[in-house]
């Protein structure tokens, strides 16, 4: 039964959804290859590939999560089912996180085998997985929450993209303010080995859990979602 559900949910995500992390991987590997051909050294190549894990995969996951939360064509039917919609939504989001995590973990193992991981991530390998775990959970939770609050895939995608660009362009602001630093999503890319790295990662996971709780509560109110989609 569980296997059937998982197969169904994967089919529902569609081959584009399933291929998204692979495309992100190809994109960043392509950039790394071009850099290598352009004479970049190992540390620079390591930086772009680790950045792909921290900047690329989590944003892609967040945008897809927003789409999952914003679009349920059979939402009226969900109201009539024994399984609550919140359970269905969280299962879908968990499956998305698991799918992206497979790619992210394989990516980090490949970097470790190539000797590129430790050039950018001084922490032990398993703790270092927080490079992608923290922003991944943050983006998925925030993407789903924004989609449930604002009820549209476009506005959620725009806000996630805006936050992503905003944090990168104005990173100095995030790094210089004590109250903003815990929510800086890209500490590995811009300040590897910083003393606040671990606390930053844990703060992001905490935020993701709090926002995840909000997603749980919001998705319990299925009748609010049954009013139809945005034009």
């Amino acid at each position: 039964m569980a296997a059937q559900l998982i197969r169904y949910e994967l089919r529902r995500l569609g081959w584009m959804g399933l291929l998204t992390p692979a495309l992100v991987t190809i994109l960043f590997c392509g950039l790394a290859l071009l850099m290598t051909l352009g004479g970049a050294d190992k540390a620079q190549v390591s930086r772009i590939l680790v950045a792909g894990l921290e900047l690329g995969l989590p944003l892609a996951a967040g945008v897809v999560a927003a789409g999952i939360a914003a679009e349920e064509p059979a939402i009226d039917l969900q109201l009539a089912l024994l399984t609550h919609y919140r359970t269905t939504l969280l299962r879908r989001l968990a499956l998305l996180v698991a799918w992206i995590s497979l790619f992210a973990f394989a990516w980090s193992v490949a970097l470790q085998l190539l000797g590129l991981w430790s050039l950018r991530v001084p922490e032990p390998f398993l703790v270092g997985q927080l490079v992608w775990v923290s922003p991944l959970l943050w983006f998925v939770a925030v993407g789903a929450a924004v989609a449930l609050v604002l009820g549209g895939r476009s506005v959620s995608g725009a806000l996630l993209g805006g936050l992503w660009t905003f944090e990168i362009l104005f990173r100095d602001l995030f790094l210089s303010k004590d109250w903003l630093r815990p929510e800086f999503l890209f500490a590995t890319t811009y300040t590897p080995g910083a003393e606040y790295w671990l606390s930053n990662r844990l703060a992001l996971i905490s935020t993701a859990l709090v926002v995840g709780l909000a997603v749980w509560l919001l998705s319990s109110r299925t009748e609010l979602m049954a009013k139809g989609g945005e034009a």
Binding site: M35, G38, G162
Partner: protein
């Protein structure tokens, strides 16, 4: 242009314009992005009084062009797939007029509506500068700056955002566009920077939609992002418009081919 053609084009443009303008997503996203822009940048009332009017206008234009186009592009990306999602495309195909007019009408209408909040924000800043600096010429200058430095980049973004989702899944396009905006506009840093990585990028080239080539080249703004000649400014505008037209043409050809094979 036949009567049917022009009426389909006008009808599609007006309908798409009204539909996009009434979306709450447009106003919410633009409002949040503008608030974030003001949070980290200077409003027109915060520039030093020693700055020239043209400098203030150029920096104001640049600030609005920094990351607000991310919302602009993403909000346009679902316009074409929406017809398919609602299964309206088959119905529309059965009506008089070719898909070309509807496609062009969708581009013009949705783009104009999405541009409107950006233009109003830009205009408000320009009017403030004109009053504050007691400079009547700030208004035509500000409008010209919008037309030359902002508009070509936004039209370029709109063309790709309407066209690419014809073949790319919308969430994937949203992700790719966000990444592109950073990679193609703001990635460039000098080799002397500790953050410098030699990533191949369009940033800093004439094909940068942020518009600083036009601002510097055509208006001669001193001490701006970079130095450019008038020819470079015009070339940048021409390239952005040409690539936008090419994207629209490719999408239109694909839609026509898809219809013929249905």
């Amino acid at each position: 242009m036949s009567k049917v053609t022009s009426s389909v084009l006008i009808g599609a443009t007006l309908y798409e314009f009204r539909m996009q303008l009434r979306r709450k997503a447009l106003w919410i996203a633009t409002g949040i992005f503008f608030a974030l822009t003001l949070f980290v940048s200077q409003g027109p009332w915060q520039f030093p009084s020693s700055m020239l009017v043209i400098q203030i206008l150029a920096f104001w234009t640049q600030e609005l062009q920094t990351f607000m186009p991310v919302a602009f592009g993403i909000l346009l990306a679902d316009r074409l797939p929406r017809d398919r999602l609602l299964r309206a495309d088959e119905l529309l195909d059965s009506l008089p007029g070719s898909p070309s007019e509807r496609f062009l009408g969708k581009y013009i209408g949705a783009t104009l509506a999405t541009l409107l909040p950006l233009f109003l924000i830009h205009l408000a800043g320009v009017v403030y500068v004109a009053v504050d600096q007691a400079s009547a010429e700030a208004i035509p200058l500000g409008l010209a700056m919008f037309a030359a430095a902002s508009l070509p980049g936004l039209l370029f973004v709109a063309a790709f955002s309407i066209s690419c989702p014809v073949v790319i899944w919308v969430p994937l396009y949203q992700f790719l566009f966000t990444g592109y905006w950073f990679w193609g506009n703001w990635l460039l840093q000098g080799p002397q920077s500790p953050l410098y990585i030699p990533v191949p990028t369009l940033s800093g080239t004439l094909l940068t939609p942020a518009g600083y080539y036009a601002a510097t080249g055509l208006f001669g703004v001193p001490d701006f992002v970079l130095r450019a000649t008038a020819w470079e400014g015009l070339s940048s505008i021409g390239l952005l418009v040409a690539f936008g037209v090419a994207a629209l043409d490719a999408a239109h050809r694909y839609l026509t081919w898809r219809k013929s094979t249905r």
